[in-house]
Symmetry: D3
Subunit: 66 residues, 6 copies
């Protein structure tokens, strides 16, 4: 029954990568806590770089400096 | 003052259906806990089927099998 | 597969009332969007009144004024 | 290490305004709790007015009445 | 910079198991999306079984039937 | 109508500090986006240091090293 929410910036994660995140997070709950994978829900949120901040500035600004 | 967040897959819910979810969730808090509807907030997130997983696989894959 | 999160202040909701919220929210998704209740998850968070604010002040302060 | 999530309706907030929210929320955690800004994360969600409800009705309906 | 939130029922997960969830979720983001582990945040919420519902009933009720 | 969720580790924030976070976050939304403070909701979650991870390890472990 676990619920996992993964938030990442929207920077080109492919459907295959997102499927891997879902598979991996589900397996993690099975391995560590013996949870039932059939009722484990994983939701991925992809967030615009303008809408994500670290250190008081947006990821958009950070990426420009990199 | 309650806050309700409803996450569903993005598969064509209409504005009317979403308005019904908002109305119904607000009424539920009034009926069960006598909450003030005027300060009850409901937020609906519609999530791409590639970004939602159950049983370790995406809803996109599940829908193809159905 | 929907996921519903209900946040309320911790002010004495009983197990019966919380069971009613879970039943009602699940039924709402069935009625409005024909979702499968068996994979509908509802999580209730009860938040201390010191940790919830509206209008820039805590619910603790608001309750004292009422 | 704090994590701040700000949910607003999608009604034209500019990148500059969102950068200000990120800067201001980060500074708030520094000022009040002496948190390290470099590990403070702020995520802004912009929600369609059809998907946000108060008082049992959508913001879309409320805006039309205003 | 990813943020992962894992919600599980409060049913005796040990500090070691929770540390494993944190380690595993962080590594998953490194492996799949090459994210920087030093800015990857994982938050685990443990939810009372009275406050978690599936299929319209609480986990407390489900556990009694098992 | 904005909704702000602030997650911090549970390490002794006082009611006064939490009231300041609520006041400050509400004022931020007023200043930047001209939002109505009376319908701005702020919820603070205090998370055990065993349940919060950065860099793949818990805050409990990090604090012991500091």
């Amino acid at each position: 029954m676990p619920y996992v929410n993964i938030k990442i910036t929207r920077e080109g994660a492919t459907p295959e990568q997102k499927a891997e995140l879902i598979r991996g997070a589900t397996q993690l709950l099975v391995d560590v806590l013996d949870k039932n994978p059939n009722t484990t829900v994983v939701v991925i949120d992809e967030v615009e770089t303008d809408n994500w901040g670290v250190g008081g500035e947006t990821i958009t600004v950070r990426r420009q400096r990199e």
